[in-house]
Subunit: 360 residues, 2 copies
């Protein structure tokens, strides 16, 4: 089959890691007889450098016309460029928020699991790790504080800023459904996280999630307050199967969860719309401090490409092939520096890409 | 000296643990020649049971007329009572939010440290623990999403809910000052946490914190995004000295931090106003499942009483005496069940209170 894939190299280590993912995809094409037509799109700092804005209308059009999007990472170096002093819409991140909203990518799926081979990289004690953890964070991605009205103004000589957290039942229902659909194929547990003892939006969240749950009687639903969940992820991450939550809480919990697993350089993510379009990207950031040094770990991006094959193109066996190749490289003891441990073989970004490609 | 202390036993294990703290305070009185006049105040579920509302005007007046307030814990059993279906102002938590606002307790100080004696209870690996951690979370407590306007309504047949996150420069300035004042007496590092790549309120937060920082040139200021901070607390908690953040982020981070230390049953907190009045309470919750069983750990509440002596009454040596007694009990191998480990002596709530009292 022929697929149009938009590639967003992005900032920092983004270009290096997407390059390795393309290498792997090319190999998949050659072996399984597909063809991918790539189109590069500028987003974030890379787009600001060329166009002065983080995302052009052209780029959005390009993305919309693709079958799916593979992204590296977005965001500049907070130390060298005080981006937070920029107008919101001129910041690199604004491009990412815009593409999420424009393409209606409301469902952010972030698997967080522990690689058995990388157990030593997990910050938690062996007793807590037990047989390992395997959870999925389902984060709502186009609502809440990220997209509510905001303003900064002076009132009686005092500067004041306001952000708004809004959700309607439709937005909650569609993401809740996605979470239950995923849970059904897994261990059949959904933990919905909110702050219903304080927020109105959380009370509505709970109510709608409970309604949706009625259609999935085989799935166990639990509610947890966000502060408690931030604790439980450290105390006993094994308890979680699918975590369902709103945009800002999901941002916090998914980063915490991926660090808890010790595998942040390994974790992929997908941002999906109602149909088949998705934006796939590693869970980690753009790490500008190590950009261009051939030391970044490309595995999360390569696994994001595998996720793309599975979710957007229904190419199950091709996705499996990539995932198996990654496992094999780990079994063969190759490690980038972020996951290095005693007795393993240290390799760089390009070499890691080659090793995985060879194994497909 | 004579002090008026309002006692809020609260819900769940609250009454048991405040009882032990009073026992310890009485001992301090006897030895150091002070007198504490106690007044019990109903708050939360306990107040709803008697008055139908979580906090009466009477109770607020009582609290306002005290020199300080010692609290157990608030909140019902989420399983047996679906409190989140109640009108917001009728929920137990509403009483706590109200007393914070009414008494202007804007500065929530939550120390999070690892007890050397309880190292095994820490979920993190020994390599990460190193020489231990010792940080303070300074959480803004009377602004942000907790106290912004909110509403739930129907628009075009769709139910919608809105919460508002607002901060003005004054609110930010006063909490930032408190954080720098504390940092000066510690390791001279403030990490201010926000989401300035998305929120207007966070951009104002950063700007004001930077202004305040100019008055404290000896303190190092760093900014961190909330999602990154949630990761860093797991990856390398040693890096933190004072974390300064807004209300909701502080709720999440302080719970995560106290779990990371493995000492949640041991951690006290203070909520302070501009003057000397404070509300002191354990960092943990009301644990209704173990209420009345004489197994709850009273140490966090006893240490909160010590914090009260230090911050509200300037009774340094008396506070030291309590803290030393707690340390001694741990050295003498006594443990409640939450911090129990092999070879130690298991004791209940009352016995733990007695053991600490004896050592003063
Ligand atoms: C870059 C930033 C705006 C973004 C977010 O907060 O959503 C990132 O942290 C993420 O999780 O994808
Ligand atoms: C009970 C609840 C409203 C409260 C909060 O969120 O502030 C609690 O979690 C706390 O941290 O003191």
């Amino acid at each position: 089959m022929n697929y149009r894939v938009a590639i967003i190299p992005g900032d920092g280590i983004g270009p290096e890691i997407t390059r390795e993912a393309r290498k792997v995809l090319d190999r998949v094409c050659a072996i399984y007889g597909h063809s991918f037509e790539y189109k590069e799109i500028l987003l974030g700092g890379a787009s600001i450098d060329v166009h002065g804005i983080p995302l052009t209308e052209e780029a959005i059009k390009e993305a919309r016309n693709s079958d799916s999007i593979l992204m590296g990472s977005i965001g500049g170096d907070a130390k060298s460029s005080p981006w937070y002093q920029l107008e919101p819409e001129k910041r690199p991140e604004a491009g990412l928020l815009k593409i999420r909203k424009e393409l209606n990518l409301f469902a952010n799926v972030r698997p967080a699991y522990l690689y058995k081979e990388l157990k030593e990289a997990c910050p938690l004690r062996d007793e807590i790790i037990g047989n390992g953890f395997d959870m999925v964070i389902m984060r709502e991605l186009t609502g809440g504080l990220y997209f509510g009205e905001r303003k900064t103004f002076i009132e009686n000589g005092i500067e004041k800023a306001i952000d708004t957290l809004a959700y309607d039942e439709k937005e909650i229902r569609r993401i809740a459904k996605r979470a239950f659909e995923i849970a059904i194929k897994r261990r059949k547990k959904v933990c919905s996280v909110d702050k219903a003892n304080v927020l109105d939006s959380s009370r509505l969240w709970r109510k709608v999630v409970e309604e949706v749950a009625k259609d999935y009687p085989e799935v166990m639903l639990e509610h947890m307050l966000i502060d408690n969940c931030a604790m439980q992820l450290v105390k006993d991450p094994k308890q979680f199967d699918v975590i369902l939550t709103e945009n800002m809480f999901g941002d916090i919990l998914s980063d915490e969860a991926s660090m808890v697993t010790g595998s942040i350089g390994m974790l992929s993510s997908a941002s999906l719309n109602e149909g088949k379009l998705g934006l796939y990207e590693p869970s980690h950031g753009s790490a500008p401090d190590i950009a261009g040094k051939d030391i970044a770990n490309p595995i999360a991006t390569i696994l994001s490409a595998a996720m793309m094959l599975r979710y957007s193109f229904d190419l199950e066996k091709e996705a499996d092939a990539i995932e198996t190749a990654v496992k094999q490289v780990l079994i063969d003891s190759y490690r980038t520096v972020d996951i290095m441990s005693k007795g393993k073989t240290l390799v760089g970004t390009i070499k890691m890409g080659d090793l995985i490609t060879e194994r497909i």
